[in-house]
């Protein structure tokens, strides 16, 4: 535009006259001032704040603390030995000191339910820990290295994925029928359980690997391995934690199922699955013998699944349905 047309001689239309707001209405701030009033937050602090207010988390948290307490100190709740069985009491009704009555073998149902907690919880926790470690490592290596390593690990993953967990576990456990350790169940569950964790870890690592802060770190002098452990894995942990907590419940169920089928723990180890299996023969006459271990199992699994849901909401707010 040439100089002679400065400040257009075009008449200003009504409502478009020059307007300048009084300064006191919107006082100028420093450019890009740091808001120091807000509390400092990180992803974990945010997640914690979110969790604290979630009723799902509070309820499941209290239940889980109680379950852990029972598993650690069963003797606080009952003085009865779960393996002390007197056939005189076979299918006896509840009486003082034995609130849940007796099972077919004459064992105290309350004591067996309380002592069964330890087995279920250990299997669930140990399997989850093992699965998370194995799955994350395999997934992270596959995602980070790419190329043929990724191809091999991913196919291995596909093969394991094709085997139904329960079927595979039954076949493998048949070979260790004599072992009484809970480790055989934990190992078998981990053997077939790492697959989905590895897939999720691989995806998360692939995503985190392409984020710019890795390039930035490399340019600062960091090595690829350092990037993997310092930046990539920490940034991929959230989805892994979510799947870990939600699948904990399913491992407890699997242990119960395997014990129920008779390939899990031997009858000498107190477990809910074994008790449910034993109780089914008298289901018609004495349903309560089956009822108590089943409820304990259901409440435990539900608590962990609820906890998993709450953690998922907190770590990944986008997945919330509300």
């Amino acid at each position: 535009m040439s100089d002679n047309t400065t400040i257009h001689d075009v008449a200003v239309l009504p409502g478009q006259e020059r307007f300048v707001a009084p300064l006191d209405e919107t006082p100028l701030q420093d450019v890009d001032k740091v808001d120091e009033s807000a509390p400092a937050t990180s992803m974990w602090a945010d997640a914690w704040r979110n969790l604290r207010k979630n009723p799902l988390f509070i309820i499941s948290g209290i239940l889980i603390i109680f379950i852990i307490f029972v598993a650690l100190f069963p003797s606080v709740l009952t003085k009865t030995d779960p393996n002390y069985c007197n056939l005189d009491n076979s299918l006896g009704d509840p009486e003082a000191g034995h609130p849940f009555g007796f099972d077919f073998q004459g064992c105290d149902v309350f004591a067996r339910t309380v002592y069964g907690t330890r087995t279920s919880l250990s299997v669930g926790l140990l399997s989850t820990i093992l699965v998370v470690i194995i799955g994350t490592l395999i997934g992270a290596v596959a995602g980070f290295c790419g190329g043929w390593i990724d191809a091999v690990l991913s196919r291995l993953n596909d093969i394991f994925y094709a085997i139904p967990m329960l079927l595979g576990a039954i076949v493998v456990l048949q070979m260790f029928k004599t072992s009484t350790s809970i480790w055989k169940i934990v190992l078998v569950l981990a053997l077939f359980g790492w697959v989905s964790t590895a897939r999720i870890a691989r995806g998360a690592v692939l995503e985190a690997k392409n984020l710019e802060f890795n390039t930035a770190s490399t340019a600062l002098g960091s090595t690829p391995m350092r990037n993997l452990f310092r930046h990539i894995i920490p940034n991929s942990l959230a989805p892994i934690i979510v799947i870990g907590t939600t699948s904990l419940g399913s491992y407890i169920v699997s242990e119960a199922t395997l014990s129920f089928l008779g390939v899990g723990l031997p009858t000498t180890t107190v477990s809910w699955g074994g008790d449910i299996s034993n109780a089914q023969t008298n289901l018609m006459t004495n349903p309560m013998v089956l009822f108590y271990p089943s409820v304990a199992l259901a409440v435990t699994v539900l608590s962990f699944i609820m906890m998993g849901d709450a953690v998922k909401d907190a770590l990944d707010p986008k997945s919330r349905t509300a």
Binding site: T6, V10, L13, T26, L28
Partner: protein
């Protein structure tokens, strides 16, 4: 603009605008958002502005100023928890602020159109472009065989030709086009047009008569202008221009928006389009139903400047001919002043200043507007002067001069790029793609060299090779006379220590899991410098250097703004006392004021520490503020290399000239007082 020719028309437009009154009148608008904990955030407070028919009005402001929110309130598209709590919005005198979503549905498309900000996410990837245009036409029950012209456009067109009834707005159909051209040819021959003139006229007809876009009266008008008698011209036009099909109209709309070969393009999917082409398709959709008001929300922010210029030029022409008013939302004051007659400046949800564009630009009165004008890179005419040079301290000044001279005498090249080439293998293609093709330049110690180019010009690839993040296919990069390709182990670590990057995306280059303290400390840890205590001291110094309070140390990147993160990234880069900093589009994602602040910081650091910068940018305006030398790249090749002044005053290559022309508001006269 051809002012003289259009003076009459302009006066007429103003008279009509005055008579019709404002098309859109927003008065004391208040928009609140409700936060998670039920607090109300006032996003827009008492904003008033108006748009007249056929007028371009720009709302200018930084992110969070409420400019987009105001526009979305007008469209009835406030997101989530946003709602209008006060004021009025009048469209053609009708109050629409209290409208229900259903009532807004009727207004959108036919009365108000939107060209959204992000062309990448606003087209549905599973539908063909044509289908998406069709959707807009169908949803509003548009008649695809007739043009719908605004009252304003009609009145203006009436100047040149008598539009006789609605049928004269009938479109050309593709089926009838060959016959029409045939008859036009014989009519021309009949009146004795021949030779070169004949060819030119026919070529003009072929170019202009786009099916589904050109109308009967225009065809007649063109024929009459070519010398055909009135009666004959109208006879031909009436016989052959009998309306278009849906497909014709879609192609017509797309070609109006500036897409070449529109009929073929309409059958393609969004992923086959470049960013600029997608934005053109969105413009076609926004204008498909001939709205009286088009709201363009930062329509070109994601595009290269040259593409931005082309698209806005075209949009201007199109809306002028249709008589469409445009409410143009932008963060760029230069762009706003160049495009709009009226500017509304928003800050923190309020209108702080408004008025005729040039007047606001030349005599800004509100301190915020003054600040904006001072910071706008497109309006700045020279390099930023560093704090030291500005400094009243004579010693500092002297020292700097001495140092400056010494540097000049040494004239040592700290980084030299020699015949650098990088080829990439493209998927499913045999030949290699040359991202960088035989590029040579060198960075002088203590100076700034800028590499300018559009996206895809290979400038970032060069940066990554200089940083040794990518290996060149051929050619060498030398740092302090040593070839960096041989660096390994300790030597590489040493190189990394002296050559630091600052990347484009301040959201991506800081690890979200690291506190600010850890982020800045990281390079010290990697290079095993100092103990815990001395590192903490160094972090504090660095934060002070980038003018950030110490309290941010315990914070995480997500709590800081883009500009603040970029300052943290600069602090991290400075941690090891480097010699060279490579800024890859380091200020491109920032608001003007913040951008200005970061540029000044970089400049002050350079003066203080004698740093050398390799500055990669697509924005020539920024180059003028910071660079001593400029390298212009296009399609992987170096097209021009000169000092900044030379490039700006005497650009040698056409491409450089195009880039300079595309700087928004670059030619506006400023009278800053």
């Amino acid at each position: 603009m051809t002012e003289n020719v259009n003076e009459n028309t302009e006066a007429k437009i103003v008279a009509m605008q005055r008579e019709q009154g404002p098309l859109l009148e927003v008065k004391d608008l208040q928009v609140d958002f409700t936060t998670d904990d039920k607090r109300a955030v006032h996003a827009v407070r008492d904003a008033s502005f108006s748009v007249y028919p056929g007028q371009w009005v720009a709302i200018v402001g930084e992110s969070g100023s409420g400019k987009s929110t105001s526009a979305m309130a007008v469209l009835g598209l406030l997101p989530g928890t946003g709602h209008i709590v006060g004021g009025s919005i009048k469209l053609e005198g009708q109050e629409i602020a209290g409208f229900k979503p259903k009532e807004f549905d009727k207004l959108r498309g036919s009365k108000m159109g939107l060209v959204p900000q992000d062309p990448m996410s606003n087209l549905n990837p599973v539908y063909r472009i044509g289908t998406q245009v069709k959707e807009a036409l169908k949803a509003n029950g548009m008649d695809v065989s007739h043009e719908k012209r605004s009252a304003l456009a009609k009145a203006l067109a009436g100047d040149e030709v008598a539009v006789k009834g609605n049928d004269d707005e009938t479109f050309i159909g593709s089926a009838q086009l060959p016959a029409l051209l045939e008859d036009a040819k014989s009519a021309l021959t009949a009146i004795g047009v021949s030779g070169e003139k004949f060819d030119n006229v026919m070529q003009y007809f072929k170019d202009e008569w786009v099916p589904g876009s050109e109308t009967r009266w225009r065809v007649a008008d063109d024929l009459i202008k070519a010398g055909v008698s009135d009666d004959k011209a109208w006879e031909i036009a009436k016989k052959h221009v009998t309306g278009s099909t849906m497909e014709d109209r879609i192609a017509g709309l797309l070609s109006e928006a500036g897409l070449p070969d529109a009929a073929t393009r309409a059958r393609q999917y969004p992923h086959e389009f470049s960013g600029g082409m997608r934005q053109r398709a969105l413009i076609a959709i926004g204008l498909a139903c001939r709205p009286d008001l088009l709201i363009a929300d930062e329509p070109t922010s994601a595009l290269d400047v040259t593409v931005q210029k082309k698209i806005l030029d075209h949009l201007h022409m199109l809306t002028d001919s249709l008589g469409t008013a445009v409410l143009f939302i932008t963060h760029d004051l230069g762009l706003a002043a160049e495009r709009a007659q009226h500017i509304v400046v928003m800050y923190k949800g309020q209108v702080v200043e408004s008025g005729p564009s040039l007047e606001v630009l030349q005599h800004p009165q509100h301190p915020y507007t003054k600040r904006l004008v001072a910071a706008a890179p497109s309006l700045a005419s020279q390099r930023i002067i560093s704090a030291k040079e500005r400094g009243e301290d004579a010693d500092a000044l002297l020292e700097h001069q001495v140092k400056g001279e010494a540097t000049l005498e040494k004239s040592e090249h700290i980084i030299t790029v020699d015949h650098l080439t990088k080829e990439f293998k493209l998927p499913r293609k045999k030949e290699m793609f040359k991202a960088v093709d035989d590029v040579s330049f060198s960075v002088k110690r203590g100076t700034t060299l800028a590499i300018v180019g559009e996206s895809g010009s290979g400038k970032s690839t060069v940066a990554n090779m200089v940083l040794k993040l990518l290996e060149p296919t051929s050619g060498t990069v030398t740092y302090e006379g040593k070839d960096i390709s041989s660096f390994k182990g300790k030597e590489l670590l040493d190189f990394r220590r002296h050559v630091q990057p600052v990347f484009q995306n301040p959201y991506g280059s800081l690890d979200p899991m690291y506190s600010i303290y850890r982020s800045i400390e990281e390079p010290l840890r990697i290079h095993k410098i100092g103990d815990k205590k001395s590192r903490a001291k160094r972090v504090r110094e660095l934060l002070d250097m980038v003018e950030m309070p110490e309290s941010v140390m315990t914070r995480y990147p997500n709590e800081l703004s883009g500009g603040q993160r970029q300052r943290i990234a600069i602090a991290r880069a400075m941690a090891l006392d480097p010699d060279v900093i490579i800024c890859d589009e380091a200020v491109s994602a920032l608001d003007v004021l913040v951008q200005d602040q970061v540029l000044r910081l970089l400049n002050d650091l350079q003066a203080e520490k004698g740093l050398s910068y390799l500055f990669i940018t697509h924005d020539l305006a920024v180059v003028r503020q910071i660079a001593d030398e400029v390298v212009v790249m296009q399609h992987g090749r170096l097209v021009e290399h000169a000092t900044t002044d030379e490039v700006f005053d005497h650009p040698k290559m056409q491409y450089t000239r195009d880039l300079l022309d595309a700087i928004p508001g670059g030619k506006l006269q400023l009278g800053l007082d």
